[in-house]
Amino acid sequence: MHRAVKSLGIGMTCALPFVTLASSTYEPATTGAGDAGNGKVVYERYCIQCHGEQGDGNGESAPWLVPKPRNFRQGMFKFRSTPDGTLPLVSDLDRTITYGLYGTSMTPFGSIEPRARLDVIAYIMTFSPRWQKEPRATPIVIPPETPATTESAIRGEKIFRNACSTCHGDGSGNGPMATKTIDAWGNPIPPANLTRGRTKQEVTGRDIYRTFMTGITGSPMGAFAGAIKPDDAWDVVHYVESLGPWKESNRALRLAAATHYGDTAATPAASAAPPGATAAGGSGDGGTAGMSANVMKLSGFESTDPNEIDIHVGDSVTFKNDGGGAHNVVFFADSIPPGAKTQLQANMRNTSGPLIGPMMPKEGDTYTVSFAKLPKGTYVFYCLPHQGKGEQGTIVVQ
């Protein structure tokens, strides 16, 4: 008996560091938030009017607001320091609450006492089960800024033309898609005008870098992390800063805007991959590795190539960026067989919303969806950035 107790004690002692280690490595997504009970009152005082009693974004003022207030019940947040598809950090939400979203009705609430902001964040987290199920995401690393030179801005312009101009046009938000973009909730979401010197949450170069790399969930603004080298991303940041009176814009960047951009005007959009872009395909599958035999190409035209494809249950379909800017795949919830939504959502990896696939930012990127365990029928999808062009396709599962 004594020996058994001793063995148990030794065993528990040995196991303790591992248990401790395991528990210390897991941090819930709610780490750092305040008291939800207190936060409910804060919410009722400041937030309920727009975001609604149920946190569904249907408050009394919502009908008049563009863009629409966030629906907290979906657990989708646009502005994060974390990778696309993950939950934001408490500090991300606090940043949005403190400074607001410039150009929208989300006002800066920085005059509210900081603990009250953490409390209301805790309450907001009660609206979606994602906060309880998912761990705290790791924010992307923002490397030191490269020199903000004229040359950097010129290099950034080339990448911008390839990856961003479909929506942002010449930077003023006048791309061919500008009037047609909608977000994952079906609301109009015009591209940001980058010539004004600030956008919703971006003021500094680091802000621009963060949004460029993490994307804006639920909007056509995809995440470029993994698809572009950090130095190239800083080039894009410098190009953006050269477009207007950004806080950290400088003389060299303005010189680039004044004298050099015309030289590269002949560069055809999407004719080449961004300089230095990696072979990895961002949030998609990357390259051609693992590509299925059923390939549908997206190039920004009215239909995919081919427009329709027949497959069998269990097959996979690979969607490929065939030029024309960034693409992704979004299935119409009402144009798939009844009962297929949950399984299809489960089969889609790295989604940024309901039935919304990740961005494939550059030509050659791929994204594969398995049709295992799905009912037979017709599945219609479209490309979020090119929805205004009518880019869609059909998959018939036999």
Binding site: N38, V41, V42, E44, R45, Y46, I48, Q49, C50, G59, E60, S61, W64, L65, G100, L101, Y102, G103, T104, S105, M106, T107, P108, F109, G110, S111, I112, E113, P114, R115, A116, D119, R198
Partner: protein, 421 residues
């Protein structure tokens, strides 16, 4: 005219003063403009919370980049209406006699106003109080207003307001939780016999420079005004030049039940005629400190405000004076907001004479102890149309003020209903 009638008039006058100095208790048009509830900016309207103070300091803008575009919101009209009326009971008695007792429904107040932003830099207020009198029907309309240029040189530290100026006080007389006649006695107290009725809480003509940091944690307000107002006989609004300054600093505490603490310093140097014209100006000075604490919860706090100041009127302003009149005023106010809709409030003000101006005045002459207790419940008809009931009881004890130099007590119960739209 009997003393009872005089006292009745005095009480009525106090009510009128309180009403007349309440230019904007809540501005529902802002709620419509920004799609927010009244309670976003008001701890309990009309008292502003930190968020509301920052909004006001910014020239009634949030600086969201779409403050002007909000004008296109179909729900937005820049006008608002405010009305109140209620039952009032008054009693005044000395230690030996009941001098006055009456009750009834006095004339209410009806206001129509507009706060307007013109572009990024200009804000203005227009207000039309409709005063409906008793007896022979009378209707008077006056429009006290101001215009403010926000952010000179792009700096939040430099804003200029011109027009009818409200002094920046720790407890705003214009935004008191109750509209009864007791008011903020500490601000409106005047030294007995002084020819000037200077009151800190009255709006005065002049201009005001003010500024603040991003979240209004550090603020200043500097006013230059005419104490006597615009005097037609002098053809000069600057006949009685005066200045007022208020500095505040707010500290946010991270780990205690005290959330925010604000410390303020204020002072005024006002002038008034000692003779028939402005060639003989004498001074009135008020210097003090204020200390505010917000306890427990930001959204539903216990809010304590303490102020102390000393007032001095030069002898030449006081009839029969042989020395300057000096008094001390101490005020403690506690507002507790257990729910967003309900506010309990209480206030105690103690005014004591430190130096009698007239040799024959002795002891507690001029002293006044004022107590106020009440609650306010707000019913939200819609989020931009609210009704409030705010019963309150006020007691003013003046130890030496009765005819026989005994204690004079003035009590008032008031049960008004307010509507803002």
């Amino acid at each position: 005219m009997t003393i009872v009638r005089r006292l009745t008039l005095a009480v009525t006058g106090m009510v009128a003063l309180a009403v007349g100095s309440a230019p904007a208790r809540a501005v529902p048009s802002f709620a419509r403009k920004y799609g927010m509830k009244c309670t976003a900016c008001h701890e309990a309207w009309p008292v502003l919370n930190a968020f509301g103070r920052a909004f006001r300091d910014n020239g009634f803008r949030f600086n969201t980049g779409v403050d002007d575009e909000q004008l296109t919101n179909p729900a937005y009209w820049p006008v608002f209406a405010w009305a109140y009326n209620g039952y009032q009971w008054n009693e005044t008695k000395s230690s030996t006699h009941v001098l006055n007792e009456n009750g009834g429904v006095p004339a209410g107040g009806y206001f129509l106003g507009a706060y307007v932003n013109l572009g990024q830099h200009v804000s203005m207020r227009l207000l039309a109080p409709l005063v409906i009198g008793d007896g022979p029907y009378t209707l008077a309309v006056a429009i006290p207003g101001w215009i403010r240029y926000n952010r000179f040189f792009g700096s939040s530290w430099l804003n200029l307001r011109v027009g009818s100026i409200e002094q920046d006080l720790p407890i705003s007389g214009a935004r008191d939780l109750t509209i009864n006649g007791v008011g903020v006695t500490a601000w409106s107290y005047t030294i007995p016999g002084s020819v000037s009725s200077y009151s800190l809480e009255s709006e005065v003509p002049g201009f005001q420079l003010d500024g603040h940091d991003r979240w209004s944690l550090n603020r200043y307000s500097l006013s230059f005004f005419s104490n006597a107002g615009a005097q037609a006989t002098h053809h000069d609004i600057w006949s009685t030049p005066s200045v007022y300054l208020h500095l505040t600093h707010t500290v946010r505490l991270k780990r205690t039940f005290v959330r925010d603490v604000e410390l303020g310093l204020f002072g005024t140097y006002a002038t008034y005629f000692s003779g028939k014209d402005s060639t003989a100006l004498r001074s009135q000075q008020r210097y003090g400190v204020d200390f505010q604490q917000w306890l427990f919860k930001d959204a539903v706090p216990l809010h304590l405000t303490e102020t102390f100041y000393q007032g001095r009127d030069q002898a030449a302003l006081i009839a029969g004076a042989t020395a300057d009149g000096v008094f001390n005023a101490y005020m403690l106010q506690a507002d507790y907001v257990p729910t967003v809709q309900l506010t309990l409030f209480s206030r105690a003000s103690f005014i004591t004479t430190q130096q009698h101006a007239v040799a024959t005045e002795t002891g507690a002459y001029g002293n006044s102890n004022v107590f106020l207790l009440g609650f306010k419940y707000t019913y939200q008809v819609t989020t931009r149309f609210e009704v409030a009931i705010e019963p309150s009881f006020g007691l003013n004890v003046q130890p030496y003020q009765a005819v026989d130099h005994t204690e004079l007590k003035t009590m008032q119960a008031y049960i008004p209903i307010e509507v803002v739209f």
